[in-house]
Amino acid sequence: MSPAAAPERRASNTVLLALRARLPGAAVRSPGASRRRSGLWFAAAGLFLLAAVVSGTFVGPVGLGVGAILRDVASHVPFLGVRSHLTPPESAILWQLRAPRVVLACLVGAMLSSAGATYQGVFRNPLADPYLLGVAAGAGFGATLAIVYGGGTALGSDLLALAAFAGGAVAVALTYAIGRSAGAGRSAAAFVLAGVTVTSFFTALQTFVQQQHAQSLQAVYSWILGQLDTGGWHDVLVLLPYAAVSAVVLLLHRRLLDVLSLGDDEAASLGVSVGRVRLVLVVAATLGTAAAVAVSGLIGFLGVIVPHTVRLLAGGSYRLVLPLSILVGAGFLVFADLIARTVLSPQELPIGVVTAFFGAPFFAIVLRTSRLT
């Protein structure tokens, strides 16, 4: 371990014990017991994700039959000699539509949830979501430009995804630049306010362009509501590297999130380079968020619901919250997507509507609980 990291690790361990003592209703447990408890939570989250993936694959608007699906999966395993009974359209539905959709929902859900948890820790704001720094507004503006000026760019096309990613990245860079230059202290609050500024600005630009080209409204609105079904395996492959990099970086820094959540001065006094850590975390979280938004549009509420639920159940330490958010977030979005495509079958609800439906009452619940760190 590098000399710079060693004090951080020591600091975070001390801080963790102190944190646990601080949290209401939590006693300082022995390391063995807490490790067992966290192991249980991981197992529970893993089971939740597994249940989601299984239901997402077996259930859908077109009933394929559990047995038929299992047989088809087995037929892809070499040397088993099992033949599939699915017709070509059914096989296409299973492997070209449902399977990539479930995987995409896992990736997007994981990234948005982990980004939300990270932002809540970095900015010490319980209502921070992945779109706090302007990613949503910037990506929306980029997507609008692509749809309006891209010569009839198809939804789900690479140009659209690229434009959305670029827009989101530019917006966050702008927020960071404004936040850093904001007066003394460069506090977390400055970044939040800069994010609000940039969001308003890009939203206004987007609205202006949309009004000038009214025929683009349907396409832009559809993109904003979020979609997980137009990409196929292509989108999954595009998203995978960003998801991997983002997840790995965030997971490696989860102890530092605990330290940061004490406060800038306290963290600095423990030897943590606040500015550098904040930058790394924000870049990693934004990378994941921008990539998720680029392929699947703006899916809201996930970044707040999942981390808070995990905190309510497993405690406020980011050592647990971050990996659990990844697992639970993936499962949650798969379930939400399942609802979106089965509740009004064969009609389909936009995924953004389903998550908002869960999100609104959830905010009310969050406001009433005491454990908001």
Partner: protein, 286 residues
């Protein structure tokens, strides 16, 4: 004697003119502003083109229509009044536009989207009556009726009913048979796969899985200009290469403006469908 005769002839002529003209002479609007692309097409098709002063920015047909920057979508009452129109034709009433124009003592005609061919014909008749082109309107409606009937007769109707998927946008919004376009498709005896999912709006969002399993024989694309769709992009969608319509190339491209209006160019829409059905019937089923 000559004087009495001239007087008699003059009186007779005046009486004849009075009787022929009926009540006080009717003046038809000469400064029409149309904020509805469909109404624009109707007006020019019935022969009232010379009475049209200005049309909105979306009215791109016919080419000679006096297009302005007026918006039918977010109309500015002041800008409209600035043209000093004597008749304004609109499609819907946003931001209390009708009330504002009435205050300015301007006549407004609201012609909302037609839900059926009968509605469309009625609107053409209404425009004819209002602009003094009733014969022109009648002739147009007759022409449209005849041509559509001829196209429907000419299109083959196979023994097993063909299924159709009418795509309004690439995220699988479809037009059911309750919509104007859907009704035209219904004339050809096509079964619309979107009907099962109709939520009353006529434009439900379908699940891709359902579309693949319904395996439509014909796909109508009306999202060409807005969203860059074409038979090639449809065939490239994951899982779509096995769809019957894709395999047999039975994908009809209809320009967005034709599919979204209910004017004289509905004949072009019917023609495209008839032509696709004829081509389809010449191929054996895959």
């Amino acid at each position: 004697m000559f004087r009495r005769l001239t007087l008699l002839i003059a009186a007779g002529a005046a009486l004849a003119a009075l009787l022929a003209g009926g009540s006080p002479a009717v003046t038809y609007p000469q400064r029409i502003v149309s904020l509805s692309p469909t109404a624009t097409e109707d007006l020019f098709a019935i022969g009232a083109g010379k009475q049209v002063l200005a049309v909105d920015n979306q009215s791109d047909y016919p080419k000679q229509a006096p297009r302005t920057r007026l918006s039918g979508f977010q109309p500015n009452a002041e800008a409209i009044v600035g043209f000093h129109p004597d008749l304004v034709v609109i499609q819907y009433d946003p931001n209390k536009l009708v009330a504002a124009l009435k205050k300015a003592k301007i006549r407004v005609l609201v012609q909302p989207s037609a839900r059926s061919l009968a509605d469309a014909y009625a609107q053409i008749g209404e425009l004819g009556a209002v602009t003094g082109h009733t014969p022109g309107a009648k002739a147009l409606v007759e022409r449209m009726r005849e041509r559509i009937a001829a196209l429907v007769r000419s299109a083959p109707r196979p023994a097993t009913q063909l299924t159709v998927y009418d795509e309004v946008s690439p995220d699988f919004y479809t037009a059911t048979s309750k919509t104007f376009a859907g009704q035209v498709l219904g004339l050809f005896g096509l079964k619309n796969i979107g009907d099962v999912a109709d939520d009353g709006s006529g434009f439900p969002k379908l699940s891709q899985e359902y579309i693949l399993s319904a395996d439509p024989d014909l796909i109508v694309l009306t999202d060409i200009r807005c969203c860059g769709q074409s038979p090639k992009t449809v065939a490239a969608r994951p899982g779509w290469s096995g769809v019957e319509a894709v395999k047999r190339g039975a994908i009809v491209r209809v320009d967005d403006s034709i599919a979204s209006r209910w004017g004289p160019r509905v004949v072009d829409f019917a023609r495209a469908i008839a032509s696709a059905l004829r081509t389809l019937s010449r191929q054996p089923r895959g």
